[in-house]
Amino acid sequence: MTDHLGELAALYALGMLEPAEQRAADEHLAHCDACRRHLAQAESDVAAMAAAQPQLEPPARFFAPAPAPPARKSSPYNGWLALAAALLIAVLPAGYLLQANLAMHQDMATDAQAIARVASSPHRTVRFSGADARVMYAPDGSWYCIVIRGASAPLHVLWPHDGTTTMLGTAMPHGDVALLYLPKSHRMEHLTLMQGDREVGQAQLVF
């Protein structure tokens, strides 16, 4: 985009632009100070609208711990992590991308930062009992990556907590490997793998 944003600044601030328009606007904003200031006004207007809506008290866990901006630290690859990264980058076919985790996997396939999160962020690895599966997770619980080998059918990942069970998602097999990536904000200390109604594995996570 070579023209100034003009009225598009309002649409940008309201989240109304089509993806191609958004990209063009971002490219222009990167080198146009006048348009950044124009956009700042529109963002101030939208923020005023947001502030005039009911303000809710977040859950206690929202503020503790704060989502620390992690330092970029290299971490040695292991076989499971390399497998996960390779799957995310190269192996996932279009059909798989249309499964239940569509948006998340599109993000993973297209967003190099997300790949970097899995590949190079500090993480821990825990094996599931009863299944050839691992969960790699951030020490602060901000993401989880579940990789199951020898998977022949979709596997559901559940989080039992506080007397209830939350269905987190379904790892769809590709070949004999299934993978599920979960960007989360909670520390999930216990995960259960289910195939249909049958429990096939459990993992205890330590934080």
């Binding site: 089509e18 990167a30 200031r37 700042a40 101030s44 923020a47 609208m49 989502p67 901006p69 901000s142």
Partner: protein, 180 residues
């Protein structure tokens, strides 16, 4: 105890990616950001994930915020709201729209009488706009429609819709006391 930094100091430190600025912004604007995400997504956990992911992305992205982008509060509010809208659209693509509409948003215990007054403040401000500006702005803000969808729905030229939204937004911002 260090005194709370002013908006200018916070903006400069946030642009310089000083860690304390992230913590300060999170503490100061967290409730607004959470509420903004909640109003789009209708779910406490989704709202929390949305805020955390949006802020993490902003912080990790070089040059995502510069001083010329204005106040940190406005910038982050729009980042979080746009992230929430993106998530909502992705969800709508995955599920039938009617399933989402049928799902009751989770009750929020903290919604009190004062919040109803706040809701009225936005609605009251919207009512001051002429209908031709109010309608497209409502469709954009509350229904998360694109300008193309709104032009189609209102049977108006795209350029007309863009102009009316831009004009309506600036008037509404001024009525609500947005900084200029």
């Amino acid at each position: 105890m260090r005194p709370a930094p002013g908006d200018e100091a916070l903006a400069a430190a946030f642009a310089a990616k000083e860690r304390w600025a992230f913590d300060e912004a999170y503490a100061r604007f967290g409730r607004l950001l959470y509420s903004t995400a909640y109003h789009v997504l209708g779910n406490p956990e989704d709202a929390q994930d949305c805020v955390h992911d949006a802020l993490t992305r902003v912080w990790r992205s070089p040059d995502s915020y510069t001083r010329s982008r204005g106040a940190v509060r406005s910038f982050l509010t729009v980042c979080v709201r746009n992230e929430a809208i993106t998530r909502l659209r992705a969800k709508a693509r995955r599920h039938k729209l009617e399933e989402r509409v049928a799902a009751e948003p989770q009750e929020h215990d903290e919604l009190g009488a004062g919040d109803v007054i706040e809701q009225d403040r936005l609605r009251a401000a919207l009512r001051t706009l002429p209908p031709e500006q109010r309608k497209p702005l409502e469709l954009a803000y509350f229904d998360y429609k694109t300008h193309v969808e709104i032009a189609r729905e209102l049977n108006e030229p795209l350029g007309t819709i863009k102009s009316r939204i831009a004009l309506g937004l600036r008037k509404l911002g001024a009525a609500l006391g947005a900084s200029e």
